[in-house]
Symmetry: C2
Subunit: 176 residues, 2 copies
DNA sequence: TAGAATGTTTAGATATAACTAAACGAATTA
DNA sequence: TAATTCGTTTAGTTATATCTAAACATTCTA
């Protein structure tokens, strides 16, 4: 028997919810993106309420996060004070925007704290057993280099405006 | 005034805990990895208890997860029934191992569910408005292609045994 | 076999995140 | 100005994840 369209949308939405949770986001965020992504016209907040079953409050905050990550866009119609939202469908664009967003995050603060640790070690400002200090400096430095590499990797991806992910992976597989 | 070595270790451990949480792992996991990473000798479970302040139970389960991800290794000494743990210091190796581990995860199941949705759409098994079905098929397909690209990208990275991340990012930046 | 030293599992506590319901504020219209 | 329509914020609830404490299982030793 044929699946109905609403049923199919529901399955899709549940799938995206799981994916959202996997990446450490609220599952509601995935659901919101899903309904926007499957809609050919921008939706108002109340329409999203109706389609997801979430409350205005939750959607208001989560949609803001999505917008900050570049995954949805806010728009408005003339003579209509409702806000409308639509999904970004160019995922490559979104990725770049997410990576940029990441710059000021907790993550980078933490990484900076590693760098500070290393600076202290290199400046000889640490008191303690010399052999151990040597070992630890070497370890911390290796980690710092790894994070630096990750960082320049993401910068490189951000810079590659026109190249799609699929092309990048093709290139990498050739390098093998 | 010079920072003491224990103080420095504490700072480093807190940094890694934050990073761990950022990636959606328990912060205790970051702490456990940190103490192992800063130790030049493998540590027993009780030593980790002593150095992190966590309980045996928590460490027992978290260290298992770390081992599965290839971030720590379990070893044992002759005539000593304690287990010993040490950190993997080759992060590139760890990344590959983590990506492999990911294969059977919730994430990939969710992605497979997207593929199933698409298959139904393509098989014409869906009842509903034709224009809308057309639109939705196009959208779901675009998403599927994106995930496929991501997938082959990770496969490519996994395959690149000898190439470090820093080299990869160098290559990508040249491509620009 | 009894006892000790280990690692694991489990039941429950605590902390954290997600979400709801309702109050609020701002803008708009009557 | 009063009433309406929208989005946001907030206080509190619910759900989930993390961690503890203690029971448990296993292996070794005497």
């Amino acid at each position: 028997m044929p699946t109905s369209l609403p049923q199919l949308k529901k399955e899709f939405t549940e799938g995206l919810s799981q994916i959202s949770r996997f990446w450490g986001f609220p599952k509601g965020m995935g659901a919101i993106f899903a309904v926007l992504y499957l809609s050919s016209v921008p939706l108002s907040l109340d329409e999203i309420v109706q389609k997801t079953g979430l409350t205005k409050g939750a959607i208001s905050t989560e949609v803001r996060t999505l917008a900050r990550m570049g995954l949805v866009h806010r728009s408005s119609k003339l003579a209509d004070r409702k806000d409308y939202y639509e999904a970004e469908s160019d995922f490559y664009k979104s990725i770049r925007s997410i990576l940029k967003e990441r710059q000021n995050s907790e993550f980078d603060n933490a990484i900076r704290s590693i760098a500070k640790t290393l600076a202290k070690l290199n400046a000889g400002e640490i008191s303690g057993d010399n052999e151990e200090i040597k070992f630890i400096r070497q370890r911390v430095q290796a980690m710092q280099e790894f994070f630096d590499a990750l960082d320049s990797l993401t910068h490189a991806v951000v810079k590659l405006e026109s190249l799609g992910l699929s092309n990048i992976s093709k290139i990498l597989s050739v390098l093998k």
